[in-house]
């Protein structure tokens, strides 16, 4: 099955339940700040799913409630449900989701600055609060995809370049051997060449290691290029969703590409376009 076929089959046609399923989810911070509303989403096994939208749209919030880390920020799913491989995991904590094979790469390249690159990698060896494996083989997967890291093992991570730090957080997550990888803004603040490299590596990882991915990013073009399916969020809601190839062909998305990608006003245009379309 090719990726596009797989994506176009959707959830109903496949035998096993989707890896992640959000059903009409509402997410509230601090008991009364409504961040996400009525979001439904499906992520099929082995897919790369793009989560697009301007700053503040709710992309990170969705990822945080899937990985459970949102609970530590007083986030709560107040309506609807989140399931992982058919199991209801609504409002589960981060430790429970880590145990189920979800690794979340948080926004902003959160390396442990005063630890060396190697010590950072070591931290990928934990699960359930305990070390779950530890031998050279576990590091090999990191160096296979990011050979550069092997040369800076003793460098303090805080002194690594932005690109190296991005490689490090992905490598650290890989050592963790996830089944589902959540990436929040992996391209943020990186030079175009680096973004291309990182995204190419992500596709390789997705194929070779069979890791399902959700990538939230403002670089819609690059993300859709590698994705099977895409969701566009705005103001805490899903505005559009389609297989990535189709999404790229949509007028409103094309229009979005005309400007510099990542420009927020362009996203607002999508909405205007939709409204226009409804009236004509």
């Amino acid at each position: 099955m090719t990726t596009s076929e797989r994506a176009s089959t959707g959830g109903s046609a496949s035998q096993q339940p989707p890896v992640v399923e959000l059903d009409n989810v509402e997410i509230v911070y601090d008991r009364h700040f409504l961040a996400v509303q009525g979001v439904s989403m499906e992520v099929q096994e082995s897919d790369i799913v793009a989560l697009l939208g301007p700053n503040g749209a709710g992309k990170s919030t969705v990822l945080k409630m899937i990985s459970g880390i949102g609970r530590s920020e007083r986030g709560e799913v107040t309506r609807g449900s989140v399931s992982y491989k058919g199991e209801d995991v609504t409002n589960y904590g981060a430790n429970e989701m880590v145990d189920r094979g979800i690794t979340h790469i948080l926004e902003g390249r959160r390396v442990f600055e005063d630890l060396t690159v190697e010590e950072n990698l070591r931290c990928g060896l934990y699960r359930d609060g305990r070390r779950f494996r530890f031998d050279v083989e576990d590091y090999r997967i990191a160096f296979e995809y990011f050979p550069q890291l092997e040369e800076i093992l003793d460098l303090k991570a805080g002194y690594a370049s932005g690109g190296q730090q991005q490689m490090l957080v992905v490598a650290r997550a890989l050592i963790h051997r996830p089944e589902l990888l959540l990436l929040d803004e992996p391209s943020l603040g990186l030079a175009p060449k680096l973004v291309r490299d990182i995204f190419e590596t992500l596709v390789e990882i997705n194929r070779e290691e069979d890791i399902t991915m959700i990538i939230a990013d403002q670089n819609a073009k690059r993300t859709l290029e590698i994705a099977d399916y895409g969701y566009v969020m705005e103001n805490g809601q899903v505005e559009l969703h389609d297989p990535a190839a189709e999404l790229m062909e949509r007028e409103e998305i094309k229009e979005f590409y005309l400007g510099t990608s990542g420009d927020e006003s362009r996203y607002r245009d999508i909405r205007h376009y939709k409204i226009r379309k409804r009236w004509t």
Binding site: V98, E113, E119, C123, G124, L125
Partner: protein, 309 residues
């Protein structure tokens, strides 16, 4: 006036005293680094260790005390048990609560401990069993000598410090502790249990602080309420070292130990070059604390955020 042998003597005992303070200072820095809590009960926890040997190894309370070395070993073991117990019974209840409430809890605990010790032993100096006091001196280079009990205490302190450094540097658990201290959320999404990390930090901290107290008492032949004041003195060391740096706390402790020894020898009593007055040895580290706070508020090794453009 300043005779070289004496100066060496004092330098050696200053470094030794610093190594003893280092255990208590590192216990303090570890907790601050991992939980953000300033533990103001350090002096009292050290004192519990110090009086533990009096309790188990002398006839002060028990009618049939343990042999001296058994009492010493048992008290060290009890220091570890105290760490586990305090974490379970007290500090675990406060995970997720504001840091300020925990700081106030440490103040309360300090008061309770010190009252409890005063109740059991009075506020007087209590000599250690004679086997632990030796009374002999060991010759060092250039005619300098050092008290045997003091030398043993310092050696033990250095062993604990080295073990701790190796633990942080070379074990996965050590890396995890430091990682969780730098970025709790990033550690959590990697499967690190914050509860377990905090429990481990408290246990290690309280254990080394109690051991520090035991060795501090051993170096001066017995336990006294003066150990309570180390809770304040090590504050100078830790602030100098940068509050959240464990190697910094060690170096700060050595500096404070030296200052205190120089202060009490050269600026106080019959040996003074300039006699400032009694107790100046203990005041000097605190004057130093003030200077550090004014001149270098983040200390020598405090976390400087690495900014990248």
């Amino acid at each position: 006036m300043v005779d070289v042998t004496t100066f060496l003597d004092i330098t050696v005992s200053g470094i030794g005293l610093g190594a003893l303070y280092a255990l208590i200072a590192m216990g303090f820095a570890l907790i601050y680094k991992v939980t953000g809590v300033l533990n103001f009960a350090q002096g009292q926890i050290a004192m519990i260790g110090a009086y533990g040997v009096v309790f188990l190894g002398t006839g002060a309370v028990l009618s049939s005390p343990l042999p001296a070395f058994a009492a010493l070993a048992a008290t060290i073991a009890l220091g570890i048990v105290l760490g586990i117990a305090l974490e379970r019974i007290v500090f675990r209840q406060f995970i997720g609560e504001p840091v300020l409430s925990v700081i106030i809890v440490t103040l309360a605990l300090g008061g309770i401990f010190s009252g409890f010790i005063a109740f059991l032993f009075g506020r007087n100096f209590r000599a250690y069993p004679p086997e632990l006091t030796f009374g002999s001196r060991i010759d060092l280079v250039a005619g300098a000598t050092i008290q045997t009990a003091f030398a043993i205490a310092v050696l033990l302190a250095l062993v604990v410090v080295a073990a701790l450094m190796l633990f942080f540097r070379y074990t996965v658990t050590g890396s995890i502790l430091r990682a969780a201290a730098t970025d709790e959320q990033a550690a959590m999404v990697l499967g690190v249990s914050i509860e377990r990390t905090i429990a481990l930090a408290w246990t290690i901290s309280i254990a080394i602080t109690a051991i520090g107290g035991i060795l501090l008492a051993m170096s001066s032949d017995g336990a006294g309420f003066s150990i309570e004041a180390t809770g304040i003195i090590i504050f100078a060391a830790v602030v100098f070292g940068g509050l959240d740096s464990i190697p910094g706390a060690f170096i700060g402790a050595i500096v404070v130990g030296l200052l205190q020894e120089y202060g009490s020898f050269y600026f106080e009593g019959g040996t003074a070059i300039v006699d400032v007055g009694p107790g100046f040895g203990e005041i000097l580290p605190l004057l130093f604390l003030l200077v550090v706070i004014v001149v270098k508020p983040y200390g020598l090794f405090g976390t400087e955020r690495i900014e990248r453009l």
